[in-house]
């Protein structure tokens, strides 16, 4: 069996340590190196210039929830893609067909959503 890299937790630990150093390092570096000019505009919600209208706490339209639900469905599809991709090189062609059927069934659902106009931004 190929020795799994992810099973080696030292790699993960190194990654966490490097990440924990990297973030404060870059923030401190930009704090020290960048010129600091304070400006009222820079404290705006959108620095690009759009002025926010009204309070940020508003009730969002329920239509957004469909996108969240679609995201959940395809997220779970991704979960199944992971073990498939990792084990791919030691399996038969049948498994490829299996995954194609799996994706095709979900693509059918996506086509239905498209046809019903659930993906249209309103």
């Amino acid at each position: 069996m190929v020795e799994s890299v992810t099973a080696d937790h030292t790699v993960l630990l190194m990654f966490i340590i490097v990440g924990a150093i990297f973030v404060p390092l870059t923030l401190t570096a930009s704090h020290l190196l960048a010129p600091s000019k304070h400006d009222e505009r820079k404290l705006d919600t959108y620095e690009c210039g759009s002025e926010p209208i009204g309070p940020p706490w508003v009730q969002f339209r329920v239509g957004y929830y469909v996108y969240a639900l679609l995201f959940v469905v395809f997220d779970i599809e991704t979960v199944f893609l992971y073990p498939w991709a990792v084990a791919f090189d030691r399996m038969v062609v049948f498994v490829l067909a299996e995954m194609i059927v799996f994706i095709a069934i979900l693509a059918g659902g996506l086509a239905y959503a498209w046809k019903e106009g659930a993906l249209r931004w309103r």
Binding site: G63, A68, L70, E77, V79, A87, R90, E116
Partner: protein, 168 residues
């Protein structure tokens, strides 16, 4: 040496999990509670990783910390109208306190009484990795895997149908 490191990591993750859960219950702002829940989910993924359950950790991060947290935040966004709606007053109740004490006492009693009879779990010599899991899933469990896609399809169609399509 390795077990010491494991112990330290376990303590940190256990503290993060339980502390996050306590903070989730203690905070009065429902949005903060959602983010504390997210922290608990990620710490739990770390605990799975510590048990070498890589796939479970992956599912925990992708599905729970990814989509379930998004769903919870969306629900909050959809239901709250003002900032004041998100904040709940602190209202301690005697009933809840008594219930918590009783439940905690029962739990402590059960642990004290029955812990000697239960043997601690033993980790297998070789822990199956994601590749071995995938091999098993796509050969022995091919039919349930395809049924899972049908279940997801039902969820997808249901979500679209329930939202009323393009609202005509």
């Amino acid at each position: 040496m390795s077990s010491t490191v494991d112990g330290i990591v376990f303590l940190a993750l256990a503290f993060a999990t339980i502390g996050g859960a306590v903070m989730m219950l203690a905070t009065r702002n429902v949005v903060h509670a959602a983010f504390w829940l997210l922290e608990v989910m990620l710490a739990t993924a770390g605990l799975y990783m510590l048990l070498s359950a890589e796939f479970l950790a992956l599912v925990q991060v992708l599905v729970y910390a990814g989509s379930v947290a998004v769903l919870i935040l969306f629900t909050i966004m959809l239901t709250l109208r003002r900032r004041e709606d998100a904040i709940r007053d602190f209202e301690p109740g005697w009933g809840a306190g008594i219930l918590a004490v009783l439940f905690g006492g029962a739990l402590l009693f059960a642990v004290e009484r029955f812990s000697a009879q239960m043997r601690p779990g033993v980790m297998p010599e070789v822990v199956p990795d994601v590749a071995a899991f995938g091999e098993k899933l796509f050969t022995s469990w091919a039919v349930p895997f395809e049924i899972a896609s049908l279940v997801l399809l039902v969820a997808l169609v249901g979500a679209v149908w329930w939202s009323g399509g393009d609202g005509q």
